[in-house]
């Protein structure tokens, strides 16, 4: 057991079909596993630079989203901040560019935590639509496993909750947000 502060951040725009996979992923983890106090699960959406704080305040930051790697749908890549920065500046989404830039900006600061970027190759991130394509949805359990393994590497084994929530249910809630009812 260690006391490293870990942030698990899901990124992506839930309006662009598969681009929302990072958001759904972290929500899935939050709903289905017991979250220990040293772990913060953050659905970061497209917040980009608003997420800079997490890079400075946590010892380890795991970012999950879509990637710009060419490859088969569902292929998963896991890279360190150094590997991300060493790549060419070609990115497929504004959000992904932002994350890279933020890592670069923060890397100059002494409080920068250790970053791991986990990305999955999506099928479609162009159509303006909530939810995931069937093929991407099929590969989500693999992404869950990779994220759980990364957490294990940091000394955290998450215990599943008794009641499980499906990806379909989580996506449904995101597609139909409800404002609180005022009395």
């Amino acid at each position: 057991m260690n006391d490293k502060k870990i942030a698990l951040i899901g990124i992506g725009n839930i309006m662009f079909h598969d681009e929302g996979l990072g958001a759904y992923l972290v929500k899935y983890i939050e709903e289905n596993f017991e979250i220990p106090p040293q772990l913060s699960v953050v659905e970061g959406g497209t917040l980009g630079f608003k997420l800079m704080t997490y890079y400075q305040e946590y010892d380890k930051i795991i970012v999950v989203g879509t990637g710009s790697h060419d490859g088969k749908v569902g292929e998963i890549h896991s890279e360190s901040a150094e590997e991300v920065m060493a790549k060419s500046p070609i990115r497929k989404t504004a959000n992904e560019v932002e994350i890279t830039m933020m890592i670069e900006i923060c890397s100059f600061h002494e409080d920068m935590g250790e970053v791991q970027l986990i990305t999955m190759v999506p099928e479609d991130i162009i159509e303006v639509k909530n939810g995931l394509t069937d093929r991407t949805l099929e590969y989500m359990p693999n992404l869950v496993d990779v994220v759980l393994n990364e957490l294990k590497r940091c000394g955290l084994t998450l215990r599943p909750k008794a009641k499980q929530v499906s990806f379909e249910e989580i996506i449904g809630v995101y597609a139909n947000p409800k404002a609180p009812v005022m009395a």
Partner: protein
């Protein structure tokens, strides 16, 4: 040697990327420019059919930089449709939430996304730390304050770190710069001050982002605003929460006054020559709509400004209240007249945009978004160019009464100033007097950047007043945060608009509601106004005009184009490819992204 093309190209085809195509003459002066976005959106369609009370929660997802502003704008469009006036506490809380967004956005924009267009990091390694401390004191004194970082020892430590990074090849983002370009004009000492504040600003932004969360609800996405008011009554009742907000604001304000403003005095003075170079302007060009005479300087652009106005100061309701930032238009650089904004005169044209349209500019209430992509033209050189006579952008061309206008902090300061707003006049005059610069210096790239800093200082001061006003109101026993309304009654057949100001410019949401559901929805975002293509009769857009007239020191390093586009705080991600007429790629430069639009 003929004319050369400089192309600012998207990183990829998706999401809000911007391309600037510019033509330079044999003297490296930009004689023409086009701004194109390669994104396709149509996000509004996703909002159709929803319960209008829930729209804000989806609308906030449009963009990561303006999240909280889209959220509030959407809710206010619905409140306008329902004729709801929110309680005083809700008004002040919303002002504080938006105000903290301004502080955070402006600070991060200047230091982390724009400062390195002025500050040469590598040159900072040559600075003398003793002299740097003297220099920092000098500019702080111009601002009437003591420097934020004052000791030679502190500067030495920071310089050692830069040297270490350079040696280890770990410059990160700094690795992509055009260090040594002759259009970097600061001394080594001044560059070191810039880098030192860049690093300090990383700490400060962390504190500022906490402010936003106090009234914004569960971080990081805001959740506390609802149609009718706000939900954070517990935070208003709790003096400790208000005190914490004030403490964070005090900390941020101190940095704004003792680092940000002095840095702007320093950059403004060192770059004043180009900011006042009348030959380097759009209006000195032979373009249609240009006046053929010098007004302002490099990067000034079309000099037509619009502000919808924002931050209500009383409780008389939307579009009736006094505003911190007045609404209005100043056209063609004529600072003797301000025109009132008539929302009926706002339209979007698609002559040069990849949409079908109905043949004439459309008002947002009736706006359509039907894609019609006609592509780029691959020339013999193998490079694809914009078909600039036809359609060339995914961004529509918003017009006010048929005119292209610029929006953003400069527009807000100019409109407020010309309108005679006492508070804005005081801050702008104070800046110009201390800097010993004429008002026309604001009509430039540097001026646009200075206007943002002036606005940040003004905001940090007025927010102090608002926090006290909120605390006093709560202490007096008024804890009302929500106005009740009969949804079934007000949502039968209505429409409304949320017109106000996001940090980077005028943001409008328009909603039509029928039988409790959204019938039509359109958003016209700040970067659409600024980055949009030409109008139906060739009217030049704000980015396009700002770039025309600029002299590029080295076409392989289009630093000046990037600096000017950055000065608008663009919501885009882009790269610059420089090609000569043979289409050979000479250089690539990555430009920051800031948001999806």
């Amino acid at each position: 040697m003929g004319k050369k093309h400089i192309i600012v190209d998207p990183i990829t085809r998706i999401e809000g990327h911007l391309r600037i195509e510019a033509v330079i003459d044999e003297n490296n002066k930009i004689v023409d420019a086009w701004s194109s976005s390669t994104m396709f959106r149509g996000i509004e369609t996703i909002l159709k059919g929803r319960d209008p009370r829930d729209c804000g929660l989806m609308a906030m997802r449009i963009c990561g930089v303006c999240t909280g502003t889209h959220y509030q704008r959407s809710i206010e469009a619905v409140e306008d449709a329902f004729k709801i006036t929110i309680p005083k506490n809700a008004r002040i809380v919303r002002n504080l939430i938006q105000g903290s967004l301004y502080l955070h956005d402006h600070l991060v924009h200047f230091y982390h996304l724009h400062a390195l267009d002025f500050v040469d990091v590598v040159a900072a390694t040559k600075a003398d730390p003793e002299k740097t401390a003297e220099e920092a004191a000098k500019w702080a004194h111009v601002a009437g304050v003591e420097p934020y970082i004052g000791g030679a020892g502190d500067f030495k430590m920071i310089q050692d770190r830069i040297i270490k990074f350079v040696k280890e090849g770990r410059l990160g983002i700094f690795g992509n710069g055009y260090w040594g370009n002759p259009h970097y004009k600061l001394t080594p000492e001044q560059n070191l001050i810039g880098v030192a504040h860049y690093l300090k600003a990383l700490d400060i932004q962390r504190e500022l982002s906490k402010m936003h969360a106090i009234f914004g609800g569960k971080s990081p996405h805001p959740q506390s605003i609802v149609v009718g008011g706000v939900t954070c009554v517990q935070d208003i009742k709790n003096p400790a929460r208000i005190a914490l907000f004030k403490e964070l604001l005090t900390l941020g304000r101190d940095f704004v006054k003792r680092a940000y403003l002095p840095d702007i005095y320093m950059a403004g003075t060192m770059y004043a020559d180009e900011a006042t170079d009348g030959n380097a302007t759009f209006h000195a060009s032979s373009h249609k709509g240009a006046m053929g005479k010098a007004v302002g300087g490099t990067g000034g652009g079309i000099l037509s400004f619009m502000s919808y106005g924002d931050f209500r100061l009383d409780d008389t309701g939307f579009y009736k209240s006094d505003l911190l930032f007045p609404s209005g238009l100043v056209l063609d650089g004529d600072i003797s007249t301000v025109h009132e904004v008539d929302p009926n005169k706002i339209s979007e044209d698609v002559t040069h945009s990849w949409y079908k349209g109905t043949g004439a500019p459309e008002h947002p209430y009736d706006g359509t978004t039907i894609p019609e992509y006609t592509g780029l033209e691959k020339k013999e050189d193998g490079y694809a160019y914009l078909k600039t006579d036809e359609k060339y952008s995914w961004i529509k061309s918003p017009l006010y009464n048929g005119k292209k206008v610029e929006v953003g902090p400069l527009a807000r300061m100019v409109v407020g100033y010309v309108k005679g707003d006492k508070r804005i006049k005081k801050y702008v005059d104070n800046f110009l007097t201390r800097a010993n610069l004429p008002i026309t210096v604001l009509f430039s790239t540097v001026g646009r950047t200075a206007a943002r800093a002036i606005e940040t200082e003004l905001m940090s001061d007025v927010m102090m007043e608002w926090v006290d006003e909120l605390a006093a109101n709560a202490a007096s026993g008024d804890l009302s945060t929500w106005t009740e309304f009969d949804f079934d009654k007000v949502s039968v057949d209505t429409k409304g608009m949320g017109l106000a100001e996001a940090p980077r410019g005028s943001l409008g949401h328009w909603v039509k509601i029928k039988n409790g559901k959204v019938e039509n929805y359109q958003a016209v975002v700040p970067s659409t106004w600024n980055a949009g293509p030409r109008g139906p009769n060739g009217e030049v857009g704000a980015y396009e005009g700002a770039v025309i007239g600029t002299v590029v020191a080295d076409p392989e390093q289009p630093l000046e184009i990037i600096r000017t586009v950055h000065s608008f705080d663009p919501c885009i991600a882009c790269a610059v490819h420089v090609v000569d007429t043979k289409g050979k790629e000479l250089a690539t430069y990555k430009v920051d992204p800031t948001c999806a639009f």
